[in-house]
């Protein structure tokens, strides 16, 4: 490979890695909900869209920086999530019906209502937040004078990535070190046993749905400086979140991080070497490959290693 080719390759790798960090945040939210409640939240992307609109309006009306709106939108999304679980999903868990997939179809309904309400109120215009640092970047050449290749690191992408890392670390701390976090994990492993140990399973479910929504809400705020916003954007992110959880292993938080990064790198490779429009197909190719060759996801590899010892 010649120097320009290496440059393109490395640049693509960096872009994929940064994208992957954000994807991981979306994936973790979904995997948490899936682990604790055993349902797939098909309104996940739409919740992200709602949070992006919150960030957008905060920026447009009050000039609040999207990165600061993380601290506003995330709690709001948490309460929206808790409300959805309490008033819509919990009642359906008790209803008896022929198809057990009712809860999944219910989340589809929620997603439809959210995206078409957004369409009704905000029209289908593409919007973005024109922040001052949107196109600024750090260049390798500035720091290392005689560098043979030139690489750049976009400022908003990097800041978003760092935020995503911080939030993930905070979540890890919550899940492993606090009592509430441990209760959430207990509910995920065995709701019956958790109930007998005195865990309020219903409340944990609400908390989890809230947490999942808050995480994807945070991801929305981090995405808006680098992406554009339109009402029907949710669907594709729901799919992304699902593909990540399949790659990572269902219900596994660490797997979701690895899955997010794999998907991000793969997508950015597809976009560079095959064509922008094919990125969703590349996403699906990873998905099928994961299903056929690694049905348990990355998490199953780690488990196998442990058993082998």
């Amino acid at each position: 490979m010649t120097a320009p080719q290496i440059e393109v390759f490395l640049q693509t790798l960096i872009a994929g890695f940064l994208l992957g960090g954000l994807y991981a945040l979306i994936g973790i939210g979904m995997t948490l909900i899936m682990g604790v409640m055993k349902i797939i939240n098909l309104a996940h992307g739409e919740l992200m869209m709602v949070s992006m609109y919150i960030a957008y309006w905060l920026f447009t009306l009050f000039g609040l920086d999207p990165y600061l709106s993380v601290f506003v939108a995330t709690p709001v999304m948490f309460f929206i999530g808790v409300g959805l679980q309490k008033f819509l999903i919990t009642p359906v868990l008790k209803v008896d019906s022929i198809l057990p997939e009712n809860q999944v179809i219910l989340t589809v309904g929620i997603g439809m209502v959210l995206s078409s309400l957004a369409m009704l109120f905000f029209k289908s215009d593409y919007r973005s937040t024109p922040v001052s640092y949107a196109t600024s970047a750090w260049y390798l050449g500035d720091y290392w004078k005689g560098s043979p290749i030139e690489l750049s690191l976009s400022v908003p992408w990097t800041v978003s990535f760092v935020f995503a890392l911080a939030i993930t670390a905070g979540l890890w701390f919550f899940l492993t070190k606090t009592d509430t976090g441990k209760s959430v994990r207990a509910t995920s492993q065995d709701p019956q046993a958790a109930l007998m140990m005195g865990v309020n399973v219903d409340r944990m479910r609400m908390l989890t749905f809230g947490l999942g929504s808050a995480l994807v809400g945070a991801a929305g705020c981090l995405f808006i400086p680098i992406y554009y916003l339109y009402p029907s954007l949710g669907g594709q992110f729901t799919l992304i979140a699902f593909v990540i959880t399949i790659i990572g292993g269902l219900g596994s938080t660490a797997g979701a991080i690895i899955g997010g990064i794999i998907l991000g790198v793969f997508e950015s490779m597809t976009a560079t070497y095959i064509g922008m429009g094919w990125a969703p197909v590349g996403r699906f190719a990873v998905f099928v490959a994961a299903l056929i060759f690694l049905p348990g996801g990355v998490a199953s590899l780690a488990r196998k290693r442990k058993l082998g010892k």
Partner: protein
């Protein structure tokens, strides 16, 4: 009486256009019958076999594009798409089944959804074959009068109705229900679940594909965003069945009437036109919480709710 109900309905539907309906009412009737066909085919896979598919737009779109590509590339009449779409869609369903039928429940649902989306993106990008976003236009319509289209789709619907009933009342149907109720138990009783799930998927796909090929002929124009639409095809297919009644013979027909009427009513209100999905979504949430087995499935409960039920 109950035995002759389907025949009676068929006769009624066959006579209705003779009273001289205008073009718009005929259009609604055709849409209603077409959605009944799609609903019945979804019900076969989702309602009876328990495999909730979110990707019926994939089959609908492949059927529609089979007819369209046949017309643009070979110059044959797009009507040949009706029989040929069965072949094309069956192939797609077999490949798809190989991938998605190893998944269960919600994972199956999402995998089918992903496949539908991927086929849409593929159709958008394969511009040589599909014209991409420009779409395919059938230049000359076969008939100006809508009545012939109506009779063709009505014939397809009648065949579908009897086919689904024959399948469900045969041994195959009992296998399907056994798989829906408990796949592991069915497997341990010696039912080859993969084989029967593939049969259900293929049958369901082929019927939906035929509806898609009909759509190309009837509308005269297709593009990837319309025929591979997630919300306007895949989800509506689910809603038709959920609203009408899961795993009932008449559910899809009733659901189709309600959905088409509702869609047209909302569309006629100028301000709300773009928001029809809000109402669809709200209806879906309502149905799932209060009538989880649909109007036909929970008919007794519905009568009790409105206070007409006899105390039993």
């Amino acid at each position: 009486m109950k035995r002759y109900l389907p025949l009676f309905c068929l006769a009624l539907l066959a006579v209705v256009p003779l009273v001289g309906l205008n073009s718009y009412l005929m259009h609604i009737l055709i849409l209603f019958v077409m959605w009944s066909v799609i609903g019945m085919s979804w019900n076969l896979l989702g309602g009876y076999c328990g495999q909730v598919s979110f990707g019926h737009a994939a089959f609908f779109g492949v059927g529609a594009y089979t007819a369209g590509i046949l017309y643009t590339k070979t110059g044959l009449s797009a009507w040949w798409g009706l029989p040929l779409s069965i072949v094309a869609v069956t192939l797609v369903a077999l490949v798809m089944g190989f991938i998605v039928l190893r998944l269960r429940g919600p994972y199956f649902a999402l995998a089918t959804l992903a496949i539908g989306e991927v086929l849409r993106v593929t159709a958008e990008n394969l511009t040589n074959l599909t014209n991409g976003d420009v779409g395919i236009m059938i230049q000359e319509r076969t008939w100006v009068e809508k009545i012939w289209y109506y009779y063709i789709i009505l014939a397809v619907a009648a065949i579908t109705f009897y086919l689904v009933r024959a399948v469900i009342q045969s041994k195959l149907g009992y296998y399907f229900v056994a798989i829906r109720e408990d796949q592991d138990a069915a497997e341990s009783l010696g039912i080859n679940t993969t084989l029967y799930k593939t049969i259900a998927l293929t049958l369901s796909a082929a019927i939906t594909g035929m509806a898609g090929a009909f759509y190309t002929n009837y509308m005269g124009y297709i593009d990837p965003k319309v025929v591979f639409a997630l919300h306007d095809i895949s989800i509506v297919a689910i809603m038709v069945v959920m609203v009408g009644g899961v795993a009932t013979f008449w559910g899809p027909v009733v659901g189709s009437i309600i959905m088409i009427l509702m869609a047209e009513m909302i569309r006629s209100v100028p301000m709300l036109g773009t928001a029809h999905q809000t109402f669809f979504g709200a209806l879906l949430i309502f149905i799932i919480i209060f009538l989880p087995n649909g109007i036909v499935g929970d008919f007794k409960k519905l009568r009790r709710l409105v206070g007409l039920g006899r105390p039993s």
